[in-house]
Symmetry: none
Subunit: 211 residues, 4 copies
């Protein structure tokens, strides 16, 4: 039997969908996906459980909807950066670009919920694939900036360096979000990360010239 799930088109419906999603997001963030019940979400959202199930086929569908929002938000932010202009700007002002990138990434993260997403990536393939896609995009961007900046042939070595640079960015973002550093420490970490990345990039250029 095919399950009919209402696609909300009217305003009231959309409001309800949003209310459910926001509530679910808050609860998942606070209590962990596995410890939140659909009845709880419905109650907290002020709708009946029946209504909840008329908008979402099952519990995982709520998560997937949230995941899609999360993804959309990332894409919006990412597309803002992933432009030819950015590549060009990187050439002249790489430090500023790196800082911009890090700040953009920081912007998308909503600590508690991101936590849940990361956790569920270990369990729910669809979540994993979304996160992998994000990482892939940022990795590619990093790589392209890198290539564009130093203007050399692609190579396994550059790919490896690019991976390392991505990891530095990524771990710095995580460190800033999840660790309880002071703001001063966070700023210092950000600055030093950029220093290190520049060091790596410049070193790569020098090495490539030597060849």
């Amino acid at each position: 039997m095919v399950k009919e799930v209402r696609t909300p088109t009217q305003k009231r419906s959309i409001d309800k969908t949003k209310k459910i999603l926001n509530t679910a997001k808050a609860l998942f963030s606070k209590k962990n996906y596995f410890n939140v019940t659909t009845n709880e979400i419905a109650k907290e959202a002020g709708v009946s459980i029946g209504t909840l199930y008329s908008y979402f086929s099952d519990k995982e569908a709520i998560l997937v909807a949230l995941l899609n929002d999360y993804n959309a938000s990332f894409i919006t932010i990412f597309d803002d950066i992933n432009t030819q202009d950015f590549l060009e700007l990187f050439k002249s002002e790489p430090r500023r670009c790196l800082e911009l990138l890090i700040n953009k990434l920081l912007k998308n993260e909503n600590e508690e919920f991101h936590n849940q997403i990361e956790m569920l990536a270990f369990t729910i393939p669809q979540v994993k694939s979304v996160l992998e896609n994000h990482n892939h995009k940022v990795k590619e961007l990093t790589y392209h900036c890198f290539l564009h900046y130093i203007d050399v042939e692609e190579s396994a070595e550059l790919k490896a360096l690019s991976t390392i640079i991505f990891n530095i960015i990524s771990s710095t973002v995580d460190e800033i979000i999840y660790s309880n550093h002071s703001n001063k420490e966070k700023e210092l970490l950000k600055a030093k990360s950029i220093d290190c990345i520049m060091l790596i990039i410049n070193n790569a250029i020098e090495l490539s010239k030597l060849k």
Copy 2:
């Protein structure tokens, strides 16, 4: 009511404990802790559910036992490295030491289960604390090597650099374990990571001399 849990002293008991733990580990890795039932573990381990509960007070106790094993294994590996000799060796052969450290860390990881552990860290405080402790230890070791090597005063800057170095090591280890790179790529990544770290360290030394 106080719960009696058999403490295994005899060989057969220890075997059973191990069987249960191994089975649980495999199932947790494959299906996620929250989706594995105690009955399933018992069945798969070839013991009755009663036996399982005579060795472990509840499901979480099984996880905690696995976590303790995981922790013990880490500590063993870590203590092997965390010595004065290592610090000294680092001074003369930092690259070799870094490689050693990475190899040791790689040794401890058991892909699928480590995944679960990381996931559960988001949910179960005890798991989180064990992982944080591991990271803390490695971070401290990195920092000490660093200080010892460049032989300068502690500073917020060095602390930040040390964090970045730790993150490079850590993310490289993860990348090697979890990503499906070819062996060649893995080796390259490892080598390049070490290069980058050396670059950061040496740059720090030069900067400190300039002051």
Copy 3:
């Protein structure tokens, strides 16, 4: 985790609550509280186990609800008697009053279930306290009637006599309910009990006059 338990407001719900309670009462009476399972109650009551648990947080809650009914029924009966009028009437027609009291007490008892209540008083403090409260009330009433009737100062002796009178009433009620006497024997026992009580009361008056 806070447990949601449906508070029945609608007719159907109240019916279900009643159905569950009646079934539970019957089963507890027949088979003993400890030998009755919640699944059994649900099945017998014609509801699902989930429904049962949506009305009662756990097995003990069912018992408590029955206990409350039992208590309420007692209170209703008791308050009917525990009046100034009754005290006055006792002065002029003590025998009739005693008979009234015994009949009222007999009315509240529902042989099999009372049995369970008494049994559980040995085990569950809440049950014990309800029964003790009932006894206390009847004891006090007896005492007040007594004092009012013979119109003397309170004393340890009168208190003891009052306890004995209460015990006669109480044991007679039990004897009538639980023993398989013929109706004729029951009536005789009731009459004789009243005789004895009057004997005790009148004797107390005479003694008090002698002093």
Copy 4:
């Protein structure tokens, strides 16, 4: 399959049996029969669960053995009283006899365990029948004393009075054991109970003479 249960003949065995029974009695008294596990009894008694089951066919068998002890103890005490001599003595010194009877009954009671026995009488027929037998014996004794004392024909009325007297004795014994009266109050209650009984007996004699 017929179950072989060892009948202990050797000293060590008897010791073990006793140890098990004493432990069980203590645990049943403290925690309620239904909340005590056989494993717990075995452990506390310092024997293996296998040994326990080699002496007792099942959990109820332990209870039955305790019940038999309890019964035997009662019978011993009761037979001590239930003699022609006692009947004769009653004629001359009824008050002393009544006090003796009450004291004997008090002697047999072991508050906590008696509690359990009474509770289980509601559930386990065998227990019920033992208690009923005790009551029956005491009732008969009371009746015979009564008849012997007042030296009249049996009659339904006397039977009823006898029941009331038995109930006074019985409830007084319970009151003394289970209620937290002071010792002084207990003595007073005992004395007053005897007074009341004598009052009832003497009144019966007078009434019989009038006929």
